[in-house]
């Protein structure tokens, strides 16, 4: 039975679980939530499994109608409304049938809407994550974004009001998307091939997030271009978070829907925390990178995996 009908998808609303693991060798991208921290919290607030499918809303302009009274949660960087009244994000709510849920522009770029048990779709290659460039995932399995009148069912039966309580993360866990952007990255790829002055320049100067960004990658712009190592690189596997520097010297950060191979030199890889923050940055946002040690990045990610009980 339908639990939510899409009245307005906004710029891009997609169904996402944690992504499509295990098919990179076939050129199939990971997909999944751009801000995985906000996504994982949305499931956690409903006591959902960490992989339960949610709606990722981009920028705002989203409106859905609740068809069955049940528990939902709202997280991320958008402003949320229930029946046109503003509500706090980062909380679960029991919402009655007939009510509307809206997301409007906020301090960040993406919001997450979860339902108890997760939204239902047939997995393709083990996942419902929508990757439009791979034409995989989503409601019909072909990578289509959510559209007006799409009807979403939940995996679990509707949950009565009495089955849950309102939950919010402790304050220190709620990101402030207006904070200055300091993005951690680890030295990987061709780091050693970039000259020392270029590695230093990369973290010294500030970068501006450009409008050239999507779920695949984000172009940044700095005053001074980074000089790229002379020797051509033979195309090689590309991890999520890789910072590629093409000949023009302006970096591109590879995100969840990135292609599996890339031929530009990589100066480093943005960490999980860094990617979550970047994914909430609208065009024009200034940011600065800083180098994090491998050991520190590992410790942080292990803590995340334990906290959210992630299989990987």
């Amino acid at each position: 039975m339908t639990v939510l009908t899409i009245l307005q998808p906004g710029l891009a609303a997609t169904l996402q679980d944690r992504g499509r693991f295990g098919y990179l060798q076939r050129g199939i991208s990971l997909g999944g939530p751009m801000d995985e921290n906000a996504f994982l919290w949305a499931n956690r607030l409903l006591l959902n499994d960490s992989n339960c499918a949610q709606i990722e809303v981009t920028l705002g302009g989203f409106k859905g109608q609740v068809e069955q009274s049940t528990w939902f949660s709202l997280t991320g960087g958008l402003n949320w409304f229930i029946d046109q009244r503003p509500v706090k994000a980062w909380q679960n709510y029991f919402i009655e049938a007939g009510s509307s849920i809206e997301a409007r522009p906020g301090a960040g770029l993406r919001g997450y809407l979860a339902v108890v048990g997760g939204f239902k779709a047939v997995p393709v290659y083990g996942s419902v994550a929508t990757v439009s460039r791979d034409q995989l995932g989503g409601l019909q399995g072909q990578g289509r974004l959510l559209q007006v009148n799409d009807e979403l069912c939940a995996v679990a039966a509707p949950a009565h009001a009495s089955t849950q309580i309102n939950r919010r993360p402790q304050r220190q866990f709620i990101p402030n998307y207006s904070d200055p952007l300091e993005i951690p990255l680890i030295a990987t790829g061709q780091y050693e091939m970039f000259s020392a002055p270029m590695r230093e320049l990369f973290t010294r100067q500030s970068y501006t997030v450009t409008a050239e960004q999507d779920r695949m990658g984000m172009r940044l712009e700095g005053d001074e271009p980074i000089e790229v190592p002379e020797r051509n690189l033979i195309s090689e596997p590309l991890p999520v978070g890789a910072v590629q520097v093409p000949a023009g010297g302006q970096p591109i950060v590879m995100l969840r829907d990135r292609q599996s191979l890339g031929g530009y030199h990589k100066i480093g890889t943005v960490t999980w925390h860094g990617l979550n923050r970047l994914s909430q940055a609208v065009a024009g946002t200034k940011l600065r990178f800083y180098w994090q040690s491998m050991a520190a990045a590992e410790a942080e990610y292990v803590a995340v995996m334990r906290f959210f009980n992630l299989a990987r």
């Binding site: 790829g189 995996m305 990987r312």
Partner: protein, 221 residues
């Protein structure tokens, strides 16, 4: 540089690098590495993706870390082992291609630059066997090598917005079939009607067909 070299790629991934060139011997090292990965009992190694000279391996950070994975892989020495059996034996695929200027949009210009007739160009492209060196860019996209020296041309300065599915294309020493209609910057020299799902290491032989044959096959598809 000493190869193979294993370096961190992400907090939960390492990159194994073999030599700094595209060649059949390097590809065979990559294949031995993949055979080793498929047979290893180390369940902390989760997923891998290969290219011409590199293999990236994702691992379970709760059970191991980059340092440990690097040590394990360095100790494996699959680069020296000839005996590792591949679990799946590579397939030989014959693929029919129509090298006609109406389908191979860059064929006339490239042939002229190479000092060949269109027919000679088609013959040169189809008389050598290719290997699947890498899979990626998009699902089903296989990078095949090596294109004969005389047929090596750089990518287009401006990529086309729309390359039809089945287009056979070349870029430097690589050739490929576009599995879906998509943007693309490679030189288009022909069109295939049918092609298989490629696996790394598969062997490919192209067979020229006439425009009439192509149209018949395309209509009966």
């Amino acid at each position: 540089m000493n190869y193979p070299r294993v370096v961190p790629a992400a907090v939960d991934a390492v990159m194994i690098e073999f030599a700094d060139e595209i060649s059949l011997p390097v590809h065979e090292q990559v294949m031995r590495c993949l055979a080793w990965l498929e047979q290893t009992k180390d369940t902390a190694l989760l997923e891998w993706v290969a290219s011409y000279r590199t293999v990236m391996v994702y691992f379970d950070l709760r059970r191991t870390d980059a340092q440990q994975v690097i040590r394990t892989i360095e100790a494996a020495q699959f680069g020296q082992q000839q005996s590792l059996k591949q679990t799946k034996s590579p397939q030989l695929h014959q693929i029919e291609v129509c090298y006609h200027p109406s389908l191979g949009l860059d064929l006339v210009e490239l042939s002229a630059t190479a000092g060949l007739s269109v027919e000679q160009f088609a013959q040169r492209h189809s008389e050598v066997g290719y290997r699947v060196y890498a899979l990626g860019f998009a699902p089903g996209f296989a990078y095949l090598g090596d294109v004969p020296e005389q047929l090596r041309f750089p990518r287009l300065a401006t990529p086309r917005k729309k390359v039809p599915a089945g287009s056979v294309a070349i870029a430097n020493q690589q050739t490929a079939i576009y599995p879906k209609t998509s943007p693309g910057g490679w030189n288009i020299i022909g069109r295939a009607v049918r092609w298989p799902e490629f696996e790394l290491g598969d062997r490919i032989q192209f067979k020229p067909i006439s425009l009439a044959q192509f149209e018949r096959m395309d209509a009966s598809r």
